[in-house]
Amino acid sequence: MVPIELVLFAFLIATAAIIAMVRDLLSAAMLFGIFSLLSAGMMLLMDAVDVSFTEAAVGAGISTVLILGALSLTDYAEKRSTQHRISGKLVVLATGGLLIYGTLDMPTYGDPAAPIHNHVAPEFVAGSRNKLEIPNIVTSVLASYRSFDTFGETTVVFTAALGAMLLLGGGLPRRAQSGTPDDAPDERGES
């Protein structure tokens, strides 16, 4: 029997290859959603349920809609590039090769002697049960042990949205200008 991981990996690679080749951006957006769903499956098999959850919700859900929203403002077909640079392919291959080379130094997956499992993790695992009494260790690490980091992340999300809303106008309603393509900047600057 073929392990499910191999099947998922094969599908992941196939999806990535098709995304790279396809010219229709609508198909690419849909394939990105499938790619995210497959990665969510991979995370689930690695027992990283929270990461898998996030990947499925953000990657396959929201970001697909946002890419489609962006596509509706532009063209659906990728511009065919006239020149095929060999240097670009070389850079991609070299980066990929270096990344694979880097993984050779990593401890094997699930190795209990790996450094990550022997630094602060035992304290977190014990503390989450005894001091915090929160069964989901991910939540106790994110929200309590690493609450400064999470505060920073929330602020980053806030700042990113601030920039996007200032650039895009925050979806403020603009009706009653039928027909005229408005390329003027947003009138309401208060967002």
């Binding site: 609450s147 505060f151 929330t154 806030f158 809303m165 895009l168 979806g171 309603p173």
Partner: protein, 146 residues
């Protein structure tokens, strides 16, 4: 066959109207059950936003903004961060360090931790949901520029 707008497809309207409350309910479950099961503020915020985005896709941006005005979304974006930081300030007023949840309950540090995690996750959830809906408003509210 004439091309119909997505807003006119009856099956989509009926089905999405049926799904919509359950998506929001599931988001609330993920939000408030994050201590015990997978999930937390971030995932809950995204699912919550996805529910509203579904509503907006099927019924149109105007209908969505009638139900959820852009002004509220803007306020929510900041409110979540303020809530998170406010918990930190609260713990400082309770003679602890910034974001030290142990002092949030007089009787037990465990309850203090639970209280802190609950409100902090709620802050994350509010900000993430508002941000996602806000960015969707940003894209959907624009017209094609040539």
């Amino acid at each position: 066959m004439p091309r119909r707008s997505i807003h006119e497809v009856l099956i989509l309207r009926v089905v999405s109207k049926g799904i919509f409350p359950f998506v929001l309910l599931f988001a609330l479950y993920v939000q408030f059950h994050g201590d015990f099961g997978p999930g937390g503020g971030f995932q809950a915020g995204v699912i919550f936003a996805a529910g509203w985005v579904l509503y907006g896709l099927v019924f149109g941006l105007t209908e969505l903004q009638k139900a959820l005005p852009p002004r509220w979304v803007e306020i929510g974006t900041a409110l979540g961060v303020l809530l998170y930081g406010g918990i930190g300030v609260w713990s400082m007023f309770a003679h602890g360090a910034f974001l030290d949840y142990n002092v949030l309950d007089h009787h037990s540090t465990v309850h203090g931790q639970h209280r802190g995690v609950f409100w902090v996750e709620l802050g994350v959830g509010i900000t993430v949901a508002s941000v996602m809906i806000g960015i969707f408003y940003g894209f959907a509210g624009r017209r094609r520029v040539r």
